[in-house]
Amino acid sequence: MRSPFSLKQEFLKNWILGLQRCRSSKKNMSIFERKKVIKLSADVAVASARNGITCWSRALIADAVKEGNADKHLAEKILGPASERQPTEKVPVGAMAYNKRIRSKKIPKRSSVIRRTIKCAPQAARPSSIVKRLVGKRRQILRSLIPWGEFMNGVSLIEETLDYIILLRAQVDVMRSLASASKLVNLN
Protein backbone atom coordinates (compact mmCIF):
# COMPACT_ATOMS: atom_id res chain seq x y z
CA MET A 1 0.00 0.00 0.00
CA ARG A 2 1.51 3.27 -1.06
CA SER A 3 1.92 5.81 1.64
CA PRO A 4 0.65 9.27 0.82
CA PHE A 5 4.16 10.62 1.07
CA SER A 6 6.07 10.94 -2.11
CA LEU A 7 9.32 9.07 -2.33
CA LYS A 8 11.34 12.21 -1.76
CA GLN A 9 9.37 13.11 1.31
CA GLU A 10 9.73 9.61 2.66
CA PHE A 11 13.46 9.73 2.06
CA LEU A 12 13.83 13.17 3.62
CA LYS A 13 11.85 12.15 6.67
CA ASN A 14 13.96 9.02 7.18
CA TRP A 15 17.15 10.91 6.58
CA ILE A 16 16.41 13.59 9.13
CA LEU A 17 15.38 10.98 11.69
CA GLY A 18 18.62 9.13 11.14
CA LEU A 19 20.72 12.28 11.39
CA GLN A 20 19.00 13.32 14.58
CA ARG A 21 19.74 9.96 16.12
CA CYS A 22 23.43 10.75 15.63
CA ARG A 23 23.14 14.25 16.93
CA SER A 24 24.71 13.78 20.31
CA SER A 25 27.93 12.50 18.89
CA LYS A 26 28.08 15.15 16.26
CA LYS A 27 29.33 17.98 18.41
CA ASN A 28 33.00 17.59 17.77
CA MET A 29 33.09 15.53 14.65
CA SER A 30 35.66 15.95 11.97
CA ILE A 31 34.42 16.81 8.52
CA PHE A 32 35.30 13.31 7.41
CA GLU A 33 33.20 11.73 10.14
CA ARG A 34 30.36 14.09 9.47
CA LYS A 35 30.42 13.17 5.81
CA LYS A 36 30.23 9.52 6.74
CA VAL A 37 27.19 10.13 8.91
CA ILE A 38 25.50 12.18 6.22
CA LYS A 39 26.11 9.62 3.51
CA LEU A 40 25.29 6.55 5.56
CA SER A 41 22.10 8.03 6.93
CA ALA A 42 21.10 9.07 3.41
CA ASP A 43 21.72 5.58 2.03
CA VAL A 44 19.85 3.91 4.86
CA ALA A 45 17.03 6.43 4.47
CA VAL A 46 16.66 5.71 0.78
CA ALA A 47 16.53 1.98 1.40
CA SER A 48 14.03 2.40 4.23
CA ALA A 49 11.77 4.37 1.92
CA ARG A 50 11.07 1.09 0.19
CA ASN A 51 9.94 -0.56 3.39
CA GLY A 52 11.43 -3.94 2.69
CA ILE A 53 9.63 -4.44 -0.58
CA THR A 54 12.60 -4.66 -2.87
CA CYS A 55 15.61 -6.91 -2.66
CA TRP A 56 18.16 -4.14 -3.13
CA SER A 57 16.73 -2.13 -0.24
CA ARG A 58 16.83 -5.08 2.13
CA ALA A 59 20.36 -5.73 0.92
CA LEU A 60 21.53 -2.22 1.64
CA ILE A 61 20.29 -2.28 5.22
CA ALA A 62 21.43 -5.82 5.90
CA ASP A 63 24.91 -4.99 4.63
CA ALA A 64 25.03 -1.84 6.74
CA VAL A 65 24.52 -3.78 9.96
CA LYS A 66 26.45 -6.85 8.96
CA GLU A 67 29.04 -8.23 11.38
CA GLY A 68 32.44 -7.12 10.30
CA ASN A 69 31.22 -3.90 8.77
CA ALA A 70 33.36 -1.09 10.12
CA ASP A 71 30.40 1.27 10.38
CA LYS A 72 27.98 -1.26 11.82
CA HIS A 73 27.46 0.66 15.05
CA LEU A 74 26.87 3.90 13.24
CA ALA A 75 24.32 2.21 11.01
CA GLU A 76 22.53 0.71 13.98
CA LYS A 77 22.42 4.08 15.63
CA ILE A 78 20.93 5.61 12.52
CA LEU A 79 18.35 2.87 12.20
CA GLY A 80 17.26 3.42 15.74
CA PRO A 81 15.92 0.94 18.26
CA ALA A 82 15.07 -2.46 16.87
CA SER A 83 11.42 -2.01 17.72
CA GLU A 84 11.21 0.92 15.34
CA ARG A 85 12.97 -0.76 12.49
CA GLN A 86 11.28 -2.16 9.47
CA PRO A 87 11.36 -5.91 9.24
CA THR A 88 13.93 -7.00 6.74
CA GLU A 89 12.55 -10.39 6.01
CA LYS A 90 9.20 -9.17 4.86
CA VAL A 91 7.56 -11.06 2.05
CA PRO A 92 7.37 -8.65 -0.84
CA VAL A 93 3.68 -8.82 -1.62
CA GLY A 94 3.19 -5.12 -2.01
CA ALA A 95 2.91 -3.45 -5.38
CA MET A 96 5.92 -1.79 -6.79
CA ALA A 97 5.42 1.52 -8.46
CA TYR A 98 5.73 0.29 -11.99
CA ASN A 99 4.93 -3.36 -11.84
CA LYS A 100 2.30 -5.11 -9.81
CA ARG A 101 4.00 -8.43 -10.20
CA ILE A 102 6.39 -9.30 -7.43
CA ARG A 103 8.35 -12.46 -7.40
CA SER A 104 7.93 -14.26 -4.19
CA LYS A 105 11.31 -14.63 -2.65
CA LYS A 106 12.37 -17.20 -0.14
CA ILE A 107 12.02 -15.83 3.36
CA PRO A 108 15.30 -16.28 5.16
CA LYS A 109 15.56 -16.95 8.86
CA ARG A 110 16.28 -13.83 10.85
CA SER A 111 19.86 -14.83 11.49
CA SER A 112 20.53 -15.49 7.88
CA VAL A 113 19.39 -12.07 6.72
CA ILE A 114 22.78 -10.92 7.77
CA ARG A 115 24.42 -13.73 5.92
CA ARG A 116 23.14 -12.89 2.44
CA THR A 117 21.05 -15.93 1.84
CA ILE A 118 18.10 -14.19 0.29
CA LYS A 119 17.44 -15.83 -3.01
CA CYS A 120 15.95 -13.62 -5.56
CA ALA A 121 13.83 -14.69 -8.51
CA PRO A 122 14.92 -17.75 -10.41
CA GLN A 123 15.93 -17.64 -14.02
CA ALA A 124 13.51 -18.32 -16.84
CA ALA A 125 13.38 -21.91 -17.95
CA ARG A 126 13.89 -20.87 -21.54
CA PRO A 127 15.70 -17.59 -21.79
CA SER A 128 14.21 -15.42 -24.47
CA SER A 129 16.44 -14.16 -27.21
CA ILE A 130 16.64 -10.78 -25.57
CA VAL A 131 17.63 -12.18 -22.23
CA LYS A 132 20.37 -14.03 -24.03
CA ARG A 133 21.70 -10.69 -25.15
CA LEU A 134 21.74 -9.44 -21.60
CA VAL A 135 24.59 -11.67 -20.69
CA GLY A 136 28.25 -11.27 -20.27
CA LYS A 137 30.35 -8.57 -18.89
CA ARG A 138 27.80 -5.80 -18.93
CA ARG A 139 25.31 -7.79 -16.95
CA GLN A 140 28.02 -8.67 -14.47
CA ILE A 141 28.89 -5.04 -14.07
CA LEU A 142 25.26 -4.13 -13.50
CA ARG A 143 24.96 -6.82 -10.89
CA SER A 144 27.96 -5.48 -9.09
CA LEU A 145 26.34 -2.06 -8.90
CA ILE A 146 23.04 -3.10 -7.34
CA PRO A 147 23.04 -4.17 -3.71
CA TRP A 148 22.95 -8.01 -3.74
CA GLY A 149 22.73 -7.82 -7.51
CA GLU A 150 24.82 -10.93 -7.75
CA PHE A 151 21.79 -12.88 -6.53
CA MET A 152 19.48 -11.46 -9.14
CA ASN A 153 18.81 -12.55 -12.62
CA GLY A 154 16.85 -11.83 -15.73
CA VAL A 155 13.66 -9.96 -15.10
CA SER A 156 14.22 -9.43 -11.39
CA LEU A 157 17.54 -7.81 -12.11
CA ILE A 158 15.92 -5.32 -14.45
CA GLU A 159 13.02 -4.63 -12.08
CA GLU A 160 15.36 -4.06 -9.18
CA THR A 161 17.53 -1.84 -11.35
CA LEU A 162 14.57 0.29 -12.34
CA ASP A 163 13.52 0.74 -8.76
CA TYR A 164 17.04 1.39 -7.56
CA ILE A 165 17.56 4.12 -10.13
CA ILE A 166 14.30 5.82 -9.23
CA LEU A 167 15.25 5.90 -5.58
CA LEU A 168 18.80 7.02 -6.28
CA ARG A 169 17.48 9.92 -8.28
CA ALA A 170 15.14 10.93 -5.47
CA GLN A 171 18.10 10.78 -3.09
CA VAL A 172 20.27 12.97 -5.32
CA ASP A 173 17.48 15.50 -5.87
CA VAL A 174 16.79 15.93 -2.19
CA MET A 175 20.46 16.13 -1.25
CA ARG A 176 21.07 18.65 -3.97
CA SER A 177 18.15 20.81 -2.79
CA LEU A 178 19.49 20.73 0.72
CA ALA A 179 22.95 21.70 -0.46
CA SER A 180 21.62 24.70 -2.38
CA ALA A 181 19.43 25.70 0.55
CA SER A 182 22.40 25.52 2.90
CA LYS A 183 24.48 27.55 0.54
CA LEU A 184 21.80 30.21 0.21
CA VAL A 185 21.42 30.38 3.94
CA ASN A 186 25.13 30.88 4.33
CA LEU A 187 25.20 33.68 1.86
CA ASN A 188 22.65 35.72 3.73
Binding site: K35, K39, S128, R138, I146, V155, V172, L178
Partner: protein, 94 residues
Amino acid sequence: MSSRRPSSRQSSGGVSRISDDQIIALVSKLRHLLPEIRDNRSDKVSASKVLQETCNYIRSLHKEVEDLSDRLSQLLATIEAESAEAAIIRSLLM
Protein backbone atom coordinates in the same frame (compact mmCIF):
# COMPACT_ATOMS: atom_id res chain seq x y z
CA MET B 1 5.35 -17.67 -27.59
CA SER B 2 4.21 -15.38 -24.96
CA SER B 3 2.93 -17.09 -21.88
CA ARG B 4 1.98 -14.46 -19.41
CA ARG B 5 1.42 -16.36 -16.25
CA PRO B 6 -0.49 -14.23 -13.80
CA SER B 7 0.91 -16.09 -10.88
CA SER B 8 4.12 -14.93 -9.41
CA ARG B 9 4.18 -17.30 -6.52
CA GLN B 10 7.12 -19.58 -6.51
CA SER B 11 6.07 -23.18 -6.27
CA SER B 12 8.68 -25.65 -5.21
CA GLY B 13 11.26 -25.43 -7.90
CA GLY B 14 8.76 -23.50 -10.02
CA VAL B 15 10.01 -21.15 -12.65
CA SER B 16 8.10 -18.38 -14.30
CA ARG B 17 8.19 -18.13 -18.05
CA ILE B 18 9.42 -14.82 -19.18
CA SER B 19 8.26 -13.61 -22.52
CA ASP B 20 10.13 -11.41 -24.89
CA ASP B 21 7.40 -8.83 -24.47
CA GLN B 22 8.00 -8.52 -20.80
CA ILE B 23 11.68 -8.05 -21.28
CA ILE B 24 11.15 -5.52 -24.03
CA ALA B 25 8.77 -3.58 -21.81
CA LEU B 26 11.22 -3.51 -18.95
CA VAL B 27 14.18 -2.58 -21.09
CA SER B 28 12.23 0.24 -22.62
CA LYS B 29 11.28 1.51 -19.16
CA LEU B 30 14.92 1.44 -18.28
CA ARG B 31 15.72 3.32 -21.41
CA HIS B 32 13.32 6.07 -20.51
CA LEU B 33 15.02 6.59 -17.22
CA LEU B 34 18.40 7.14 -18.77
CA PRO B 35 19.11 10.74 -19.66
CA GLU B 36 21.37 10.05 -22.64
CA ILE B 37 19.19 7.61 -24.44
CA ARG B 38 15.98 9.42 -23.65
CA ASP B 39 17.17 12.45 -25.52
CA ASN B 40 18.06 10.39 -28.51
CA ARG B 41 14.69 9.74 -30.01
CA SER B 42 15.67 6.79 -32.12
CA ASP B 43 13.76 3.63 -31.42
CA LYS B 44 16.59 1.33 -32.11
CA VAL B 45 18.73 1.04 -29.09
CA SER B 46 20.22 -2.31 -28.41
CA ALA B 47 19.68 -3.98 -25.08
CA SER B 48 23.38 -4.05 -24.57
CA LYS B 49 23.68 -0.32 -25.06
CA VAL B 50 20.88 0.17 -22.55
CA LEU B 51 22.76 -1.97 -20.06
CA GLN B 52 25.90 -0.03 -20.63
CA GLU B 53 24.20 3.32 -20.19
CA THR B 54 22.44 2.00 -17.12
CA CYS B 55 25.72 1.05 -15.50
CA ASN B 56 27.21 4.42 -16.34
CA TYR B 57 24.18 6.20 -14.97
CA ILE B 58 24.18 4.28 -11.70
CA ARG B 59 27.86 4.98 -11.28
CA SER B 60 27.32 8.68 -11.88
CA LEU B 61 24.47 8.73 -9.37
CA HIS B 62 26.67 7.04 -6.79
CA LYS B 63 29.35 9.60 -7.41
CA GLU B 64 26.89 12.45 -7.04
CA VAL B 65 25.79 11.12 -3.70
CA GLU B 66 29.43 11.03 -2.60
CA ASP B 67 30.07 14.56 -3.82
CA LEU B 68 26.89 15.90 -2.28
CA SER B 69 27.75 14.28 1.04
CA ASP B 70 31.12 16.02 0.88
CA ARG B 71 29.57 19.35 0.09
CA LEU B 72 26.94 19.00 2.77
CA SER B 73 29.45 18.10 5.44
CA GLN B 74 31.48 21.17 4.57
CA LEU B 75 28.50 23.47 4.30
CA LEU B 76 27.04 22.34 7.57
CA ALA B 77 30.34 22.85 9.29
CA THR B 78 30.39 26.44 8.24
CA ILE B 79 26.86 27.57 8.80
CA GLU B 80 27.32 30.57 10.94
CA ALA B 81 24.47 32.76 9.90
CA GLU B 82 21.97 33.54 12.58
CA SER B 83 18.89 33.70 10.41
CA ALA B 84 15.83 31.63 11.20
CA GLU B 85 16.50 29.41 8.22
CA ALA B 86 20.01 28.68 9.37
CA ALA B 87 18.71 27.76 12.79
CA ILE B 88 16.25 25.34 11.25
CA ILE B 89 18.85 23.63 9.13
CA ARG B 90 21.24 23.48 12.02
CA SER B 91 18.74 21.94 14.34
CA LEU B 92 17.57 19.43 11.77
CA LEU B 93 20.94 18.20 10.75
CA MET B 94 23.52 18.95 13.34
